[in-house]
């Protein structure tokens, strides 16, 4: 049962579904999908492979009309999720659409989690003044902390809880969703290499990253990708961030992290996740960094901009989300 908030508004509708267990997941998502199918709306579901199978079983033949995608692949770097939704919207001009996307699950690292939360807010910025379509974001209350659920209430205008949909009274709103992101980044531990740089130091910067990556055991291809990405971010510092910057490189467990800091002001919240425009002058550096690196963290702080690029030493294979109960427990049928 849906609450008073009308689903068919003339705006983008961003709704969090707070569920506990497989049965609540199914009863919260399947009617949403079926409503869309009956209204001939294209439906895209970006979920774990386990939940995709669960939904296919529940939908039966109707599943054939739904497009499914693996969130572990699409959202490995959370900054790549908005471009996927952008393409979905662009692929169906003039039509109402529905989507389900669950970017946050228990196994996300702390760094990934906070970038997922930033992603959830930026969805409002990306689509809040565009076409009307509905995006439902399931949150697994059994396995996510209370602070994660509270943040979901702030990043979603609507919250579906226990079958009732209500407008969130702590939703931060459209303007604040795209405000500069200034959540502090944790300071690295020991073993940090530093290099102040200007234009003529780019070759030295590339050499330092390449050597550190090789020492850490990063594969040659991923090393070249990391070097390319960091060079672009450093070039942004040179061109737009005061003409110079500083590089820090360190390793945290199995992740190599490169940080570029400069005195520039980062004021385009979507510039790293909007597919570049065709014209030659369109910015591409941060977009490219998000395509090449496992995670990119951008912060606008009092002293300037900080960009951290993460590269896992061993690329993570797409993996399944972990739920407490197997799909054989609980109802998979909403009838």
């Amino acid at each position: 049962m849906r609450g008073a908030a009308a689903l068919h508004s003339e705006q983008f509708r961003h709704e969090a579904l707070l569920y506990s267990g497989w049965a609540e997941f199914v009863t919260g998502t399947v009617p949403f999908i079926r409503e869309g199918l009956r209204a001939s709306e294209p439906v895209l579901v970006v979920e774990s492979l386990e939940k995709i199978q669960l939904l296919k079983d529940a939908l039966g033949q109707e599943a054939g009309a739904v497009v499914f995608a693996d969130m572990a692949m699409v959202g490995a770097n959370p900054a790549r999720i908005i471009p996927a939704w952008q393409e979905f919207v662009s692929f169906h001009p003039g039509r109402r659409l529905r989507g389900i996307g669950e970017p946050i699950w228990k196994g996300r690292s702390p760094d990934e989690l906070i970038e997922c939360q930033r992603h959830e807010s930026l969805l409002n910025t990306a689509f809040g003044q565009g076409r009307p379509w509905s995006l439902l974001c399931p949150y697994d209350t059994d396995n996510l902390g209370s602070s994660v659920i509270e943040e979901a209430r702030r990043s979603h205008e609507f919250v579906n809880e226990g079958g009732t949909v209500e407008r969130s009274n702590v939703y931060r709103g459209f303007e604040a969703s795209g405000a500069p992101f200034d959540v502090p980044l944790p300071e690295p531990g020991t073993g940090v290499l530093r290099l102040p740089f200007a234009k003529d130091d780019l070759v030295k910067l590339r050499g330092l990253i390449s050597r550190q990556a090789r020492t850490a055991g990063l594969a040659a291809t991923r090393t070249a990708e990391l070097v390319t990405a960091v060079n672009e971010v450093a070039t942004n510092s040179i061109r737009h961030g005061g003409g110079a910057g500083s590089l820090r490189v360190w390793q945290e467990q199995s992740v190599l992290i490169c940080e570029i800091a400069d005195t520039g002001r980062f004021d385009q919240p979507l510039v790293d996740r909007l597919c570049p425009a065709a014209d030659l002058s369109a910015p591409r550096g941060l977009w490219l960094a998000n395509q090449l690196c496992d995670l990119v963290q951008i912060r606008t702080l009092a002293g300037g901009t900080v960009v951290r690029l993460h590269m896992r030493l061993q690329p993570r294979e797409p993996r399944l989300h972990v739920l407490p109960n197997g799909p054989d427990q609980g109802s998979t049928d909403d009838n």
Partner: protein, 161 residues
């Protein structure tokens, strides 16, 4: 959709390579008795004139095929000079312009932008990139520059040493 519907195409770097149409290497291979062979570097016998050089990049002119050869690194320090090379030294706008980039060991977005700009201003002929390293193919794909009508990424692998 780039990430969902066309993922297999996007993930395959070879998918953006041309079918060697118009490739000087392939045509030379087919007709090697009549001209220079596929195993020969760009106009090796002629000796290319240097049109640009700095500590990290050398650009030489090639006459057969008509074009330039880049060896070294392109970044913010020299990409403007690369753009000027491309726009000023190559004047035969109605012919295909062949760039041997097989010895390019680094090229940032500003360098690729120079290639794209040179392709877009051509009046008749295309700009053909030979031997583009795989990473740069990836960069061109994700930055939206892999499918331009006047820019061909040739799958020939470039001239053999």
């Amino acid at each position: 959709m780039r990430f969902l519907f066309k993922s297999s195409q996007v993930l395959d770097p070879h998918s953006l390579l041309s079918q060697n149409e118009g490739c000087i290497h392939l045509s030379a291979h087919v007709n090697r008795k009549g001209g220079f062979g596929i195993d020969e570097p760009f106009d090796a016998a002629l000796g290319g004139d240097r049109v640009y050089g700095d500590k990290r990049l050398i650009v030489t002119r090639t006459l057969r095929p008509h074009g330039l050869r880049f060896a070294g690194e392109i970044d913010a320090t020299n990409s403007d000079a690369v753009g000027e090379c491309l726009l000023k030294t190559v004047t035969l706008q109605d012919q295909d312009l062949h760039l041997d980039v097989s010895a390019l060991i680094f090229c940032d977005i500003s360098g690729i932008r120079s290639f794209v700009e040179a392709a877009e201003v051509r009046k008749g002929g295309r700009l053909m990139l030979h031997g583009l390293p795989e990473l740069l193919q990836t960069v061109m794909r994700v930055t939206g520059w892999a499918a331009l009508p006047k820019l061909v990424i040739c799958g020939c692998g470039g001239p053999k040493p």
